[in-house]
Subunit: 158 residues, 2 copies
């Protein structure tokens, strides 16, 4: 894990602020660093792309993986202007970078009107009683995709 | 909230199983339903697209939003072959559908070799001591994107 370098956070915060001025989306920016240089950037494009998943970290991860032509970010660091929401933190775990640095917190995001803190609460709650009604349904074929996966000799694990 | 209809879960599970056979990615499928019909589908494309965020639910949400030309899925239901991972559950909260149905559980996903249950544990843990080293850093401009957001008269809240 490489040490924190302020110039990369400067850039994440610059992207976040500029994104508000551009009108493209929310006040968030992120960069992916590998071997001491920025290999990908991301800003929030939710409203301009009509894509609720277009958060800065998700876009930075997708851009970085496209660069590396691989589905993991081993030996990379992610710098985010704000603590990642649960969606983005989940994406970071799937991407498996070496480190994550963030500046503002989920509480500051909440104060600015974003649902991050609420979603953390929901995700860490039992399925029953969530704000979005959620139901685990029984289906006789529920396990069939996993059986197919376990017995398939051609799969690429991830 | 419309009632659960098994034919939509049939389709999510069919997609999940077919995706393994096609070699495109993991054993997961999802559909988005609006007004009693499927408006978008998604399968896991992590390895074929080199995109760790290309989970079935995320892709189904992005496809549905593209269809609706809007960044929310109000009055839609999401059917997923498996309990969404934290990334996908976060995406579902941002998309704000009316309901979520899933068949297999996170534990069945874990048994098949997927990290969902581990990531739930990590997200619900304090920032310190996570498996991916995570650091909240102080930066004098940390709040500047939010200040810009609050004072910008042209923003589209989401």
């Amino acid at each position: 894990m490489n040490e924190y370098r302020i110039e990369f956070m400067d850039e994440a915060l610059r992207l976040a602020k500029a994104n508000v001025n551009s009108g493209k989306g929310g006040p968030f920016g992120a960069v992916v660093v590998k071997d001491g240089r920025i290999i990908a950037r991301g800003v929030n494009l939710v409203t301009s792309n009509n894509d609720p998943t277009a958060h800065a970290e998700l876009i930075a991860i997708r851009n970085a993986c496209a660069q590396l032509e691989w589905f993991e970010l081993t030996d990379c660091e992610i710098y985010s202007s704000c603590e990642p929401c649960p969606m983005c933190l989940g994406a970071i775990y799937w991407a498996r970078p070496a480190a994550l640095y963030f500046a503002a917190t989920r509480l500051e995001a909440a104060e600015a009107g974003f649902d991050d803190a609420m979603i953390y609460g929901e995700i860490c709650t039992h399925v029953e009683g969530r704000k979005i009604p959620t139901m685990h349904v029984r289906h006789k074929l529920a396990a069939s995709p996993f059986i197919e996966w376990k017995t398939n000799g051609n799969k690429i694990p991830y």
